[in-house]
């Protein structure tokens, strides 16, 4: 694990900062002089997880690169809400071209910087649609060539920009505008999904990690780690979307936490295709606790709860727990027996 353990201090390990921590023990976000890569005045919804995730990741990358960073953004919510003419929220060198080409554009930027002899690091970023669907070919190409780009997927599990439609990252049973709550199998189908972190690992790139906006120290450590390496790297950040998930705006971080703590979203990192560490579940919860807070799953908890569907989702979480060894006997504070 790249994350530096913090000697016990109240909330030192989990909160953004703390007055008593040394600077290097604090997150970048606790720094009053952080970049604010994406600044105030953006037009994201209240409680937007993506705006948060982007600032978390990019501010950390800005620190890791001493500000020598260029970012390429795919089309999507993040792009639309951040740069409506005549205002941009970005405070960093930022380029947007298209929905499906951010990895390739990032490759081009990296190549140009190399040619120009500039030690400027490059991040490509997209939502899940721009990553796992329309940008997948370009991303796979970038991985395969081992271009010197960190690609970040801000995964909110659907096409939220266009009104909440299904993407290949939409979880089973979730309601979207194209997987409506109608018919014998309401919500999204149970498929294999497109597990991009594992697909990235199959490309044998130097670094693949997952993170959530609920664990800032973990997220920043992963950005740091990623920026310490060269070649193609991939960071997949879960960013809850109050609009698309039908959740309270205040619940964004909480839901990200529950996604991880339920096992539905495994948090881990891998180098050259091998998982090198996992962030263990601290207080395991049943998937219901996560699902119930989101209207996209409301149909599972109607008068007749869909216990079979919930059980399948729990099985997915359990499978993740088993695959990544997410439950450490010493840390697990499971209420699953209850």
């Amino acid at each position: 694990m790249t994350r530096r353990p913090i000697r016990f201090y109240q909330v030192g390990s989990f909160a953004v900062g703390n007055r008593l921590l040394e600077d290097e023990e604090r997150t970048v976000q606790s720094d009053a002089k952080r970049t604010n890569s994406i600044d105030s005045g953006h037009r994201a919804c209240q409680g937007c997880g993506e705006a948060l995730g982007a600032r978390y990741a990019l501010d950390a990358a800005m620190r890791a690169t001493n500000g020598q960073l260029a970012v390429v953004n795919a089309t999507g919510c993040l792009e639309v809400f951040s740069t409506p003419y005549p205002e941009t929220s970005w405070r960093i060198a930022w380029l947007h071209s298209l929905f499906g080409n951010a990895p390739a554009v990032a490759t081009g930027v990296a190549a140009a910087m190399r040619v120009k002899g500039r030690d400027v690091r490059v991040i490509g970023q997209a939502g899940d649609g721009g990553t796992v669907d329309i940008g997948f070919g370009a991303l796979s190409g970038m991985f395969e060539r081992n271009d010197d780009v960190l690609f970040i997927c801000y995964d909110n599990e659907g096409y939220m920009n266009t009104g909440v439609q299904r993407s290949a990252a939409t979880p089973p049973a979730a309601r979207t505008a194209t997987t409506e709550v109608v018919g014998p199998h309401p919500g999204n189908v149970f498929g294999q999904g497109k597990d991009l972190p594992r697909i990235a690992m199959a490309h044998d790139v130097s670094y693949v990690a997952t993170a959530t906006v609920a664990d800032l120290h973990d997220l920043e450590a992963k950005v740091d780690k990623a920026m310490s390496l060269h070649g193609a790297r991939y960071l997949h950040i879960l960013v809850p979307c109050p609009l698309g998930w039908g959740s309270a705006s205040s619940d964004t971080i909480h839901l990200a936490r529950l996604a991880a703590e339920s096992g539905l979203f495994p948090v881990f990192e891998a180098e050259h295709g091998v998982v090198t560490s996992v962030t263990p579940i601290r207080r395991r919860v049943r998937v219901e606790e996560y699902l119930r807070r989101q209207k996209r799953y409301a149909h599972l908890f109607a008068t007749e709860p869909a216990t079979d569907v919930i059980a399948r989702l729990q099985a997915m979480a359990d499978a993740n727990v088993a695959r990544y060894h997410l439950v450490n006997d010493e840390t697990a504070n499971s209420d699953l027996e209850a």
Binding site: F8, Y9, Q10, V11, G12, S13, F14, A15, V16, G17, N18, R19, L20, R26, T27, Q29, S30, A32, N36, D39, S40, G41, H42, R43, A44, Q46, G47, C48, G49, A51, L52, R55, S82, T83, Y85, P86, E87, T88, S89, W90, R91, I92, W94, L216, P242, A248, S249, S250, D251, T252, I253, H254, R257, R283
Partner: protein, 540 residues
């Protein structure tokens, strides 16, 4: 740079877009009342001094503490710490060891010779404080800080009241007691010992006192009639402890029975053990759940070999034969006689059935209301007699040293108001920082530091202090277990989690909202570990 129209934009320009207009509710920073502070009879700002201690600045911590309570080394030993009972951390793992940190601060202050803040500017008024127990000492301290002259009188030979004469030295070493008392006296207090006040009004007039604070305590052991033979030794536990404190312990024999279930009963039993009793049996008429003694005392006493005889009353004591009757709790939880009797061997019977107050000094003042043996007081602690205030065990409240300290502070403020012709208005309390206000996810898992206990063997025959203090490392750790309920402790979460960067981090490590951009998502509220942010509706 030559940038094309509209397609390329200069950075950070979105700050012109004031998204705060989207908001229907706004977050505001609040200070909620932590349950520890709320529960502290002395009104200590516990969260406040733990906050200072967390940084290792023990002097600041101590100075915050003594704003309310000048006796932290004593309280750190004898307080029954209701703060810990209500501590929100109980629901996470275990309560913060507030009492232990308090003692650490008190001891550290003594070790470093830190003095109390000097007296306030002389007001020219003079207050008589009767009784030098915790209430009297507390009042003296606070009155001096307010600039009032104080004459402190006590009927005993030494200052300290029940702290000296009721609490055994193994719980409260005399050096600690003396040090904290001396610090108060050093503020400039006229002390009269062995001075019993028989008539408060006469004393006031004679001494030209502008006000009086009565902190006479409850020093009279409550008696019951136990049929007993002439040779049977029946002693009030209060007197017994007083005598021990005067280094003149009575002979009790080897088998001692203590009658009662309060802390005094346990103090007496444990003291008897230390004086050489082989058997120390506590006879109590109800059961464990109903017993008022503190859990700590109970556990420690059992650890030292004190035994219990539950649901029993003493019915007679003849020679060395003590007869007890078995009791049974009725439906209301009250003990009722069963008619079954047992005999115990006993060389002495110590009665610890409660204490009464000697209020004879108030006789002749019908305006003073005395009810159930205690004097009734207003919120300012003033009795019915103008200028005469009362507190501590002599007034209706739990009879603990901490309550007394709190009374002393309140009375000092009441006296100050009185002397300045002000009406006493108690400050409004903040909303309680309930557990539900917290986001305890953020607190690192950390079990409470155990206070080391002396080996049980060593306790048997000595009055060495049973509970040892915390090392600095442990004290710091313990302080840092505080969740700072309801009060910002500068964790930067709000600053970090705002998707709109609408939280400004100020130079002093505090924060303010930039309502130009706050959209009112309330993530800061949800993710504030300590519940120090609240959403309030925007005025429409």
């Amino acid at each position: 740079m030559d940038t094309p129209f509209a397609i390329t934009l200069p950075v950070g320009t979105s700050r012109a877009n004031h998204t705060g207009s989207w908001r229907v509710e706004r977050p505001v920073y609040v200070d909620r009342l932590p349950p520890c502070n709320n529960a502290c009879p002395a009104g200590e700002n516990i969260q406040g001094w733990l906050y200072a201690a967390e940084s290792g600045d023990y002097e600041s911590a101590w100075r915050t503490l003594i704003e309310d309570n000048p006796l932290p080394a004593i309280m750190g030993r004898v307080c029954f710490h209701p703060c810990e009972t209500t501590c929100n951390r109980v629901r996470v793992d275990e309560a913060v060891g507030i009492n232990a940190v308090e003692r650490f601060l008190g001891d550290t202050a003594i070790a470093h010779g830190w003095s109390l803040p000097g007296p306030g500017a002389d007001t020219g008024t003079h207050v008589l404080v009767v009784g030098s127990g915790p209430a009297g000492l507390s009042a003296t301290y606070h009155l001096r800080r307010l600039g009032h002259r104080v004459t402190l009188v006590d009927g005993a030979a030494q200052l300290g009241g029940m702290m000296r004469y009721g609490i055994p030295a193994y719980r409260l070493p005399r050096a600690v007691l003396d040090a904290e008392i001396a610090r108060i006296i050093d503020l400039g207090v006229e002390v009269k010992l062995n001075h019993r006040v028989d008539d408060v009004e006469a004393e006031r007039v004679e001494g030209h006192f502008d006000a009086v604070f009565l902190a006479v305590g409850a020093q009279i052991g409550r008696r019951v009639s136990v049929p007993a033979g002439d040779s049977s030794r029946i002693i009030d536990a209060v007197n017994f402890l007083h005598a021990v404190a005067d280094d003149d312990p009575p002979l009790l024999g080897r088998r001692v029975v203590v009658y009662g279930g309060g802390d005094t009963a346990f103090d007496a039993a444990r003291t008897a053990k230390r004086l050489g009793a082989t058997d120390a049996v506590i006879v109590y008429r109800r059961n464990r759940e109903k017993m008022p003694a503190s859990a700590e005392e109970f556990e420690q006493a059992l650890g030292e070999g004190v035994t219990m005889r539950w649901l029993s009353t003493v019915s007679s004591f003849e020679g060395d034969r003590l007869m007890v009757e078995k009791m049974a709790l009725n439906a209301d939880g009250f003990p009722e006689p069963t008619g079954e009797f047992e005999e115990l061997d006993a060389d002495a019977l110590l009665l610890a059935l409660g204490q009464d107050t000697d209020l004879s000094l108030l006789e002749g003042h019908p305006e003073v209301t005395i009810d159930h043996g205690v004097v009734q007081v207003a919120p300012s602690m003033m009795t019915g007699l103008a200028g005469v205030f009362a507190g501590g065990d002599a007034t209706p409240a739990d009879r603990t040293a901490t309550v007394a300290v709190g009374h002393g502070k309140r009375a000092a403020r009441g006296i100050d108001d009185y002397l300045n012709g002000r009406k006493t208005i108690l400050p409004p309390k903040h909303d309680l920082a309930a557990f539900e206000n917290l986001n305890t996810w953020y607190y690192a898992d950390a079990p409470r530091t155990r206070r080391p206990e002396l080996e049980k063997v060593r306790r048997q025959g000595t009055f060495d202090e049973v509970i040892q203090g915390l090392t600095e490392e442990n004290a710091l750790f313990e302080a840092r277990r505080c969740m700072s309920c309801g009060n910002c402790f500068e964790c930067d979460n709000c600053f970090g989690v705002c998707p709109d960067n609408a939280v400004v981090k100020l130079e002093n490590n505090r924060y303010e909202f930039n309502y130009d951009f706050c959209k009112g998502c309330a993530i800061c509220v949800a993710e504030c570990p300590c519940g120090a942010i609240q959403m309030v509706p925007e005025k429409i």
